[in-house]
Symmetry: C2
């Protein structure tokens, strides 16, 4: 079947991971999607990086607008980040009738209402599983898996940098500044860590989840945001002595009068599952009136975990954008006729 | 918009939960699905129960075949259970071009290949989120959320009855037989508990997950199955002294030569998240090559948690069966024009 063509904007950490996983798992992904998903063009300011990564398997350009205007491109994957150029590129892609997959929580938290309205008017999809909690399919769970429920609240460890810092402060009894420097050295925190440590990144993600959970427009400007930079090693120590761990939570909660939307350090009894989510891991707890509590746990960042979410969106868009009803989501994930003949082993062989 | 009509087969525990949640959350569910989901007819051998439950809001019959042959019915929800009548009903519904939603793991583990092939040929959906792990959207995670990954293995606590028994044996140091009787008294175990305690139910579920994870046909007959009825309180005590908990796991693992598919009691280090899943809760760990480990946790049984999954499937089918591309999965879960005006509260009001 004719491949669906992807234009990849940005081949840094997540873009590189996306290229790598799409290439490595191409055969399985095609069997699931029903069509090959082919990255036909890659845009990056660093042409050398892009050429090295793609090894001649895709056209390479430093002009991202040429990608969103390329009539051959069916889906634009936006992994540039930021609000300005990324927004123009996404809006132009939509105007050109292309589907968009993005990991850009900042863009969607600030301009999502405008972007989704434009996509709606054009009849294209803007998929953003990778924007929240990396590889955990939490957007899909909230939007589809829990659609029966009146969701009462959700609370998540949705920023790996701050969770890593808090875990290290607790484990090693070190002060915030020392651990932050260590996190920067290890690549868990950026050179300018403000968005992470001050809770802005978590608030972007909580804002998106709140909209999906409660069906409200995206309202990042209303979020209450408090980060972890004022926490002291002694706070964490006292909390532990009292049987608590301190976690930076993104919280969205339904009240009669409206929705609470807040990010702040929170004391959680140590026995709770979510209190035991350590290091750079993410977890989201969701409480629905029918299902009760459900929890989703996994890697919230990194090249391949985030790529996992980007590609899941590509498969979704490919499955859904195909008019043939038989090519929608297959019962057993893989398309009929594309099943594996891998045998189930007898126990003697295990 | 014209409602989509559901024919509900069985209004016992899960059927009753489905009716209750569909009624209670009707307004939100409609806003998510894009069309009202209306239960137009209910079939149950117990007409009095069905009449009492539906209170005149749906036609009631004791002839389930009249429902699957009813030209007004768009989606058949099969909650009767078992292999025989349920199979005939599902096959007849498919032959009549109706979509099917079912919670029947036994039916799908044994006859799923035939059922899905018939559905495929007819261009209808057979959705079964409720068949595995109750309200946890694990089928969706495996089939859609993790579609980028070469899945290496999955392991789940997917039978609430046995997990409840093992938790009670550990907490109270009681023997298996005593705790089983208590579980029966509390409604956590059935009068004939064989399928649960001997691991058959967990094997049904593991078989379905293995097929989705690895793209292999359903092969329940190849599963290695060992239950918990031979476990002694002393086994659990010794395990604990050595730093382990005993859990009944359903495991599917990829090897070069094929797939391991097995259910048996397993020692898990007590520090692991999954070792701390207690009582009737379920959890599934999935390891994908890109995403690494992800975990999904929630209620694995019960009226409303299972109904949550049944209704999620109804919303999925409603969204996907609607030809209008603008009525597919909406960006923020709720249909445009159906968003809430619930405000985000200022922190002073929280």
């Amino acid at each position: 079947m004719k491949p669906i063509n992807v234009g990849l904007l940005g081949i840094g950490t997540v873009g590189g991971g996306t290229w790598t996983v799409l290439t490595r798992n191409q055969e399985e992904i095609t069997r699931r999607a029903g069509r090959p998903i082919r990255t036909s063009v890659v845009a990056d300011r660093n042409l050398e990086l892009a050429r090295g990564m793609t090894g001649g398997q895709a056209r390479v350009t430093d002009d991202a607008f040429s990608v969103v205007n390329d009539p051959e491109v069916d889906i634009v994957v936006e992994l540039i980040g930021g609000y300005t150029v990324a927004k123009d590129l996404v809006m132009q892609a939509i105007a050109n009738g292309k589907h968009v997959v993005t990991a850009n929580k900042a863009l969607l938290a600030v301009h999502g209402n405008e972007i989704f309205a434009a996509a709606q008017a054009k009849g294209v999809m803007v998929a953003f599983e990778a924007a929240v909690a990396g590889g955990i399919p939490i957007i899909k769970a909230l939007r589809e898996g829990l659609s029966a429920n009146r969701i009462q609240w959700l609370a998540g460890i949705i920023n790996g940098t701050t969770n890593f810092i808090l875990s290290e402060m607790r484990d090693k009894g070190l002060p915030f500044d020392t651990v932050l420097k260590e996190a920067q050295r290890l690549g868990y925190a950026e050179a300018d860590p403000t968005f992470d440590i001050e809770g802005v990144d978590a608030a972007h993600k909580a804002t998106l989840m709140a909209s999906i959970a409660f069906g409200i427009p995206i309202q990042f400007d209303k979020a209450h945001i408090e980060g972890i930079s004022k926490l002291d090693a002694v706070d964490i120590k006292y909390a532990e002595q009292l049987g608590y761990r301190i976690k930076l939570l993104g919280i969205a909660k339904r009240q009669d009068a409206g929705v609470e939307l807040r990010v702040h350090p929170t004391l959680i009894p140590s026995k709770r599952l979510i209190a035991n989510v350590e290091g750079a891991m993410n977890a989201v707890l969701v409480w629905g009136d029918a299902v009760g509590a459900t929890l989703y746990y996994g890697k919230g960042a990194g090249a391949e975990p985030t790529a996992s979410a980007v590609i899941a969106d590509l498969v979704d868009v490919t499955r859904l954008a195909t008019a043939d009803p038989l090519n929608r989501v297959p019962h057993l994930a893989f398309q009929p006729g594309q099943m594996s003949d891998l045998p189930v082993l007898p126990m003697s062989a295990v």
